[in-house]
Subunit: 162 residues, 2 copies
């Protein structure tokens, strides 16, 4: 997706663009804690959105765990929308803020709609925060599911690749 | 995403797997007809879903037009779910059928939920049909939007790559 001129609405998201990898840790009241390896890719196509593709694997076996794919829609006023889908049968619409910082950018979005396919497990609410500081990206994820209120579930610390 | 053993629930979708490219035509009561080039990629990760990634471009200029990314969730009884998101700010949940044929497979899904981000244009209903016959994939798309009922909007005829 390189070679295309960046759409001006994407300018605050420049620090996100590229591929990131690193370890993550998960915890939730209803399950045992676990660790994983994450790959997160952000790309643009010259239009006013940034594509996001995430996947995680078990660290030792390499077995795939989670994935999600979606699109950030920066609105030009410091806010952004994020739409995404997950193979677990969930689609989400989130809105929130883009904050430019000295060392990068912070994107913090919360769900305004979480919708599940007929056979999927119910998730009621989510929040995602992506913090870029130079060549480090810290991702945090909260969700309300399994009868729990909005609760921190995942954190990963990724390094810019290439 | 190769090298992983295919999940048995994905077996009827084997004819879809891989990368497809070719021309498409669009029409709708509210706009002028148009043509485009499409790339459609289906992959698996050893789990009970098939990832789908689609993008279209203007045929002459190569300028990106549309994109969507999502996941088929075959249910093992001839039915499937599809969840997807689009940079236009739309997320969809669709359900429908997988029909194995002599020459390939036909997947026909209709929306059970179409949800839009606050700044997105409203789409009320969609239907997607993917028909594989050997190394040809025909894709058709219907939508109800702009005050129109469910109306055929896109057709493309793609060839298996590689």
């Amino acid at each position: 997706m390189s070679g295309l001129v960046l759409h001006p609405l994407n300018a605050p998201l420049i620090p996100l663009l590229g591929e990131w990898q690193g370890p993550g840790e998960g915890a939730y009241p209803t399950i045992e804690s676990f660790s994983y390896g994450e790959t997160l890719v952000f790309g643009h196509a010259g239009k006013p959105f940034v594509a996001m593709n995430q996947r995680t694997k078990e660290r030792k076996s390499g077995v795939p765990l989670h994935a999600e794919a979606g699109y950030f829609r920066p609105q030009g006023d410091g806010s952004t929308e994020l739409v995404l889908s997950q193979p677990s049968g969930i689609v989400e619409i989130l809105t929130g803020s883009i904050t430019e910082t000295e060392a990068g950018v912070e994107v913090d979005v919360s769900s305004v709609g979480v919708h599940t396919a007929p056979s999927a497990k119910l998730v009621r609410e989510t929040r995602r925060r992506y913090v870029v500081e130079g060549d480090t990206l810290t991702f945090d994820f909260w969700m309300a599911a399994m009868g729990e209120p909005l609760t921190h579930h995942l954190t990963s610390r990724l390094t810019r690749q290439g």
